[in-house]
Amino acid sequence: MKNILNFCVLMAIVFIFAGCSANGNTAMTKGIEKPEEVVKKFYSYVAEGGPTTLREAYKLISTKHYKMNEEQFKGVVSNYSKDMKVNIISSDIKKDLAVVTIEYSMPSALGGSFTAQSDMHLELDAASKSWKIDFTGETYDNETGQTATKL
């Protein structure tokens, strides 16, 4: 009986650890919109443009470290090329931070097109239980200017 009890306790511990490490904090992010879906929605709003739609895009950015002024935000994204195409390449989550790699392309002034990749950081907002985009790069590594968090 004692052996069976010990076995049960051991299995419980194993399940707890397995649950935590398998995919970040699955429990915390379960049931909420995935980071790549947030990014996709963000760029669809930006592409559509207009004050009301851009306000919806503004709601998707994080205010945890810095609250960007809405008008300034709208000014920035309104300057993106109207011909910019964005594709999601990958998405990864660790605890309350996600990195979504996008590839975007647009016409180049030198002829042809310009294509580049960018790692977008998203933070889990506990209050709204949703992923928010770190638009101003507060979670990036200042020393090198590169993506800081190695997942």
Binding site: H65, Y66, M68, N69, E71, Q72, F73, G75, V76, V77, N79, Y80, S81, V86, I102, Y104, M106, S108, A109, L110, G111, G112, F114, A116, Q117, S118, D119, M120, F135, T136, G137, E138, Y140, N142, T144, G145, Q146, T147
Partner: protein
């Protein structure tokens, strides 16, 4: 007779009693803006000419109304306006003759000549390369302009009539001649320039033009200004939070005065009684008694004052503020900066208070004020009758940023440095922060197609913690109109062009970002395989001096070969 004297004395006493005593700085509430019926007249008694920095224009404001009268397009990035005069007597405004305003363009490396009677740009003096002019000051005889080559460690004496420049090196490198002024009569003519890399003030003689002495001052001196009586040069030691007083006779430091944090520039009243020093970090103007050489008052400003100006009648001091956080409605990515008019008249009941604060365009640099009656009235047919038009009139309109191909991108998280893209374009990723760039040196070949992507990686806007902070990126000289990126947080900006001029061209931050904004620099090298690696001695500098980027017709730009002393 005795009764009349007594009566007169009583009347004087009553008048004095009616004037409230000046309120000291601690009791002053800046937001109590006092107005009078005379503060917005239809015709202003004075005109302020303000170099508008990145908007490439000189803005004309009325004083005391502070209404904008007009903008005069000159070039790319304007810094120091100087009135023409028969000599350099007077305070920072000089004693203008009302004919011309000279203004230097740091990005394009030119000096614009504005005809004040026409109200437009009449001529451009193209300075030699390499140089990188930051400020200019009028010579004693009013016929030359001295100029600091901040970006290359050089100084120049420019003949206004011919545009010919005498250029000298001020070593050792790194050397950054920054802000300069010329001693006032009756003292002999000497040129004083701060050098923020040397932390000294250099003293130059005019003929022959050469360095004769370096005087150690506080850390990273900026404003270096001659007071109107000729006794002193007042130096704003930016990082030491001090004001160094240099005695013009002995060419030595007479006194070091503690100031507010981040002193940047000085102005003086016309009598040489008081000096006013802008203190960026302290958000204040410090007032110094020039006889006692001690601080006597301090005025709060809103916010982050850079340059400072004074009205022609000494009654108003103007804080030319770099940030306006929360004061005005947003106008897009770039926030409005402001001019704040402060009552400097000690006899006024509103002495020391902010009278007006107005949002302004561009990123204003220095401003000078003259009496408005120096500009002739062209209305009602008086132009012909008054002899104002006695020769063909010239008005030139240079390109401001017409050559730029700039794109906004999602935050670029690529590694800083140079890579070759699939289409053969050299892709250069630069990270900008307070206060520097990674990488600091960029080297490409002549005729390379270049794609520069600059990302603002400043977290919470550096030490100023101010949301207004935007990082700048300008390659001076022939690439000025094709770069000049203003990069807010959360975005990358890209510019694409062909590197068609060989040489070494400095990169600087053209948008004020904090106390060490000036020190935020890097270099762009374009190598011509036929000439070898570029440097300050190897490059297409004669071609660059022709300033084709400004699209000014031939004959309207003066670009003589320089004389190297």
């Amino acid at each position: 007779m005795q009764f009349r004297k007594i009566g007169f004395l009583i009347a004087v006493c009553i008048m004095l009693a009616a004037v409230p005593l000046a309120v000291n700085a601690a009791e002053r509430d800046w937001h109590v803006t006092e107005t009078s019926p005379n503060d917005a007249p239809l015709q202003d008694t004075m005109l302020m000419y303000n170099a508008g920095g990145t908007d490439g224009s000189v803005a004309v404001f009325g004083v005391p109304s502070m209404r904008t009268y007009r903008h005069i397009l000159v070039g790319v990035d304007l810094h120091e306006p100087v009135f023409s005069a028969k000599d350099n007597s007077g305070n920072k405004n000089l004693n203008p003759d009302g004919k011309f305003l000279y203004v230097n363009d740091k990005a394009a490396n030119t000096i614009g000549v504005i005809n004040l009677q026409l109200g437009s740009l009449e001529r451009l003096i193209a300075l030699p390369f390499p140089f990188g002019v930051h400020h200019i000051s009028l010579s004693r005889d009013g016929k030359s302009l001295y100029a600091t080559g901040e970006l290359t460690g050089k100084m120049a004496k420019v003949d206004i009539a011919t545009g010919k420049a005498q250029v000298i090196d001020w070593g050792p490198a790194p050397s950054a001649p920054d802000y300069l002024d010329v001693s006032k009569p009756p003292k002999k003519e000497l040129i004083f320039s701060g050098n923020y890399y040397h932390s000294t003030v250099g003293v130059f003689q005019p003929n022959p033009f050469k360095l004769i002495k370096e005087i150690p001052v506080g850390k990273n001196p900026h404003g270096t200004d001659a007071e109107p009586k000729g006794r002193y040069i007042q130096v704003a030691d930016k990082l030491s939070a001090t004001i160094t007083i240099i005695d013009v006779d002995s060419l030595s430091v007479k006194k070091v005065i503690p100031a507010g944090a981040g002193p940047l520039h000085n102005v003086f009243d016309t009598k040489g009684k008081y000096a006013y020093t802008s203190c960026f970090v302290a958000d204040s103007i410090v007032k110094t008694d020039l006889d006692k050489l001690e601080v006597v008052d301090e005025f709060p400003v809103h916010y982050r004052i850079g340059h400072i100006s004074i009205s022609a009648d000494d009654k108003y001091v103007f804080a030319l503020n770099k940030f306006s956080t929360g004061l005005f409605s947003p106008t897009g990515i770039r926030w409005p900066v402001n001019h704040e008019m402060i009552d400097a008249n000690e006899k006024s009941p509103t002495y020391g208070k902010t009278l007006k604060i107005i949002p302004v365009d561009g990123e204003p640099h220095n401003a000078k004020v003259m009496f408005a009656n120096l500009v002739k009235d062209w209305t009602m047919g008086q132009a012909g009758k008054g002899g104002l038009v006695d020769k063909p009139l010239t008005e030139i309109r240079p390109v401001h940023l017409g050559g730029a191909k700039i794109s906004y991108l999602p935050v670029d998280t690529g590694k800083p440095g140079i890579t070759v893209a699939k289409d053969g374009v050299k892709e250069i990723r630069v990270k900008a922060f307070s206060y520097g760039y990674i990488p600091r040196q960029i080297r490409v070949n002549k005729d390379d197609k270049v794609r520069i992507i600059v990302t603002n990686i400043d977290k919470a806007s550096g030490i100023t913690k101010n949301p207004d902070v935007i990082m700048g990126f300008t390659i001076y000289g022939p690439y000025a109109t094709r770069t000049m990126l203003h990069i807010p947080r959360g975005v990358s900006l890209m510019t694409e062009f062909v590197a068609d001029y060989a040489g070494e061209y400095e990169i600087y931050c053209e948008t004020f970002c904090g106390p060490l904004h000036l020190e935020m620099r890097a270099a762009f090298f374009v190598d011509d395989p036929k000439k070898g690696p570029s440097n300050l001695g190897v490059g297409d500098y004669e071609e660059a001096q022709k300033q084709k980027q400004l699209n000014v017709p031939e004959g309207q730009i003066t670009a003589p070969k320089p004389e190297y002393l």
